[in-house]
Symmetry: C2
Subunit: 107 residues, 2 copies
Amino acid sequence: MICKSYKSFFNAMADECKLSIINLLSKGPLAVNDVSRKLGYEQSRVSHALTALKDNGFVVGSRNGKSMQYSLEPKIMVPLLKLIDRHVETYHRSKCGCRGVRWRDMK
Amino acid sequence: MICKSYKSFFNAMADECKLSIINLLSKGPLAVNDVSRKLGYEQSRVSHALTALKDNGFVVGSRNGKSMQYSLEPKIMVPLLKLIDRHVETYHRSKCGCRGVRWRDMK
DNA sequence: AGTTTATATGATAATAGATTCATATGATAT
DNA sequence: ATATCATATGAATCTATTATCATATAAACT
C-alpha cells in the first residue's frame, strides 16, 4: 500500500469537467450555480468536481449567504498552470492542431 | 471540441503504475526490462505506461542496442516533482497518515 | 414553521482508462 | 537466415472514475 496522494493529485485534474472549471475560476471566484450555468454542466456534476478539487487543495470554498464562493488556491495553481502551459505548448502543439493554445482558450 | 492536451497531461500520471515508474526513473535511466523486474510489473504494462509518458513528454527513450533506455525529461520533471512534493506534503499529510512522505518513499 | 434558493451527498448507470494476453517488430549474434 | 532477446502493439477484459438522478442539508426570507 502506497501513499495515494500523488495519484489523487493528478487525478483531480485529469478530466475535462474539472479542467474547464479551473479555467473558469482562473478569471475569478464564482458560486457553484454560476459555474454550472456558464459551462452548461449540471449542478451536481459541478459540485462533485469542486469537492474533488477542494479535497486536493486546488480550490477553496467559502460560504457567502446561501451560496458558496469557490476560488483557485493561488499558491499551487499559479506556478502549476504556468508550468503546464509551457509544457503543453511545447509537446502537444502539433498533436491537437492548435498553435499557441493556452488554458484560457479551452471551451 | 477542446484541445485535449491538458487532460492528457494529467492523465498520463494519474495512476500508480506510471507514478512508480517516474519514481524509479528519478534515480536514473533504465531499460524497460529493468523497470519491469524492479517493480514486478509485466513487460507490456511497463511498455504501455512508458509510451503514454513519452507521448506526453515526461520521459524520453533512446535505443541502446537491443534495449531502450528511458529517462525522465528533466526540463519538466524537476520543477513539476518539486511543486507536487511541496503541495502533496501540505495538503495530504493528514489524509494518508504518512508524515513527511516524499516521492521516493513510494513503493 | 414553512417555502424558496443554493449546494452537497449517495447510489446506480455510463464511460474512460488500465491490464492482460497473444503476437508483431526490431536488433544482435551465430 | 534463423534463433534469441528486448520492446511494442492491438484487442479483449477488467477496473476505476465520472455523470446522472433523487434526495438531503443549509441558509435566508415571509
